[in-house]
């Protein structure tokens, strides 16, 4: 299984902090779609634009590494990975 953790506005949206989903070898985009089903609520619109591109400020980490410096939404995941999802945020 792969653990997908929700933070910030996403957590409020799906009303849970994490789901475990199967998805060995899938892209992160496909995995997130599986996570929507598993969580029982949509959240991808908080992370992606209408063309399924990453919104400015969306952070997707796989084992702590930002997918933007891997293969973006095409980055593959493996069983045992941990995925952290953050919608755009700021502070100081």
């Amino acid at each position: 299984m792969i653990t997908v953790k929700f933070y910030g506005l996403l957590r409020r949206r799906v009303k849970r902090s994490a789901v475990d989903v199967a998805g060995d070898g899938q892209t992160i985009l496909a995995l997130m779609r599986s996570a929507e089903t598993a969580a029982g609520g949509t959240f991808l619109d908080e992370l992606l634009d209408t063309d399924s591109g990453l919104l400015t400020g969306t952070i997707i980490l796989i084992n702590g590494e930002n997918v933007r410096f891997k293969s973006g939404l095409e980055t593959r995941v493996a069983t045992g990975d941990r995925v952290d999802l953050f919608s755009p945020a700021g502070g100081g």
Partner: protein, 590 residues
Amino acid sequence: MMTGWMGKIVKIDLGSGKQETIAVSDTMRRRYLGGRGLGVKLYSDLCSSTTDPMAADNALIFMTGPLTGTVMTSGRYQVISRSPLTGTICDSSSGGHFGAALKGAGIDGLIVQGRAAKPVYLSVHDGGVEIRDASAFWGLNTQQTQKGIQAELPSKTSVACIGPAGENRILFAAIMNDKDRAAGRGGMGAIMGGKNLKAIAAGGSRPVEIADPSGYKDLAALIDRAVDKNPVTGKSLQVLGTSVLVNIINAHGMFPTENFRRGVFNDAEGTSGEKIAETLLLRQSACFKCPIGCGRTTRTRDKNGEGPEYETVWAFGAHLGISDLAAITEANYACNELGLDTITMGSTLGCAMELCETGAWKENLRWGEAGKLLGWVTDTAYRRGIGAELALGSKRLAVKHGRPELAMQVKGLEIPAYDPRGAQGMALSYATSNRGGCHMRAYMIAPEILGHPVFLDRFSTAGKAELVALFQDVSAVVDSAVLCRFLQFALGISTFTEMLRTVTGLDFSDEELMKIGRRIYTLERQFNNRAGFDRSDDTLPPRFLNEEFQTGSSRHRRVHLEEMLDDYYAVRGWDRSGVPLPQTLAELGL
């Protein structure tokens, strides 16, 4: 007719009671805008880099800018002086309404010199400044003081004051206004205490004249839409406040834990913005005309108040190994009431805990002791018991106990809640900050972690020097305009340019604003150079240069400072020792 600026800066001597209006030329306004920029210029002209910050003749300058009292978030003000904590030039910024109130009272700024024979406060109304007796308020906390002074003056008076920490001249005493907004960093509150100045109260209804009212109306509507549409300013900051960063920074393995010895705090979740919203949050709070409302009005079982925001959650939380959110929040309330900078207070406690753990300090401060937090904070404000040593701040405390390397500071100012090993640009920003270890001179976390305006490789040093200098210059402009820096998540430099054009009627360009920012940054640097700061001070504690985390997603990383520093000086037009070159000064008209 002058628009934007009110055209009046008052200088007052608390010793003699003499006051005068300072002449500021149109040229000087255009070159330094207001706020931080004009304040630093006026300070440099009035005082020298050897002026003792606590001496009577030191100047403490309260400044607004041409945009103060106009568009959203423009209630801010800047306090400028030489910091008693660091010895550098310092400007400390605060939100709320006080800046707009100063302009409503008819002035752009107030320069305070001298020392009053007994406690006083200043009342600024209708363009006049009156010295009033504050004996009845001396000893009161910041909340009691504000209420007491407001009761003596016309309604809608805004008050900026010190608490017991400022009266006791604690080197990191804050100035508090509009209940819980803080000019926190650098000890500006200690200077007020040294002058026997308890507070400044301001109010009035003088309008800020706008050069192009029609254009201003359109622009204000455009800004409204941009801020509302932006997911950070229009949603995240509103719902979760700044502490939404706790989980983000922790997931990047750079959430400083137990005096920066680790980058992952196992209990981060319990102190996060999400947890605050679930457990303590009563409502959002907002500054002057601000639709964002990042402030948190909260309650614990026994008390209610303002905060904590991100830096404070960290300073009293992960940094001390404390995960008790109520204890963190109540320590924040205490700092608000006593008038203390939460970052330096928390960081100094973390330094103290490591000093005790190593045996360098024979005291008994231990990680995770949430129950003692409130006592330590209070004792610091009154210099009681170990509080007398904590009141030194981390640098002086660590030096005193023979372990200077355990103070996590730059130029004497404590580094906030982003471990620089996780973001090379942020590291350079800390090292080159004109007021010491500060995240607000160039907030490189935006591009390196949060993806604003784009994501940069946080571990790369390439191109970081140019970007740090650029961010420093833009920040100097926004601090001089004066607006809230959170607008930068939604607005680019050209919108700030347009705001200044519309309000002042002057034909500013983006290029001119960037040059103004560079001029201000270089002027501050010149002051620091004269005060004895050089390349050797543009550094970081050795922990960040030599030690690596073994776990977390910033593991096995160190800061590569020297290579960035050479690039940075070259970008800035400074020599290799960090002194601006003659041609740089000539180009900037310095």
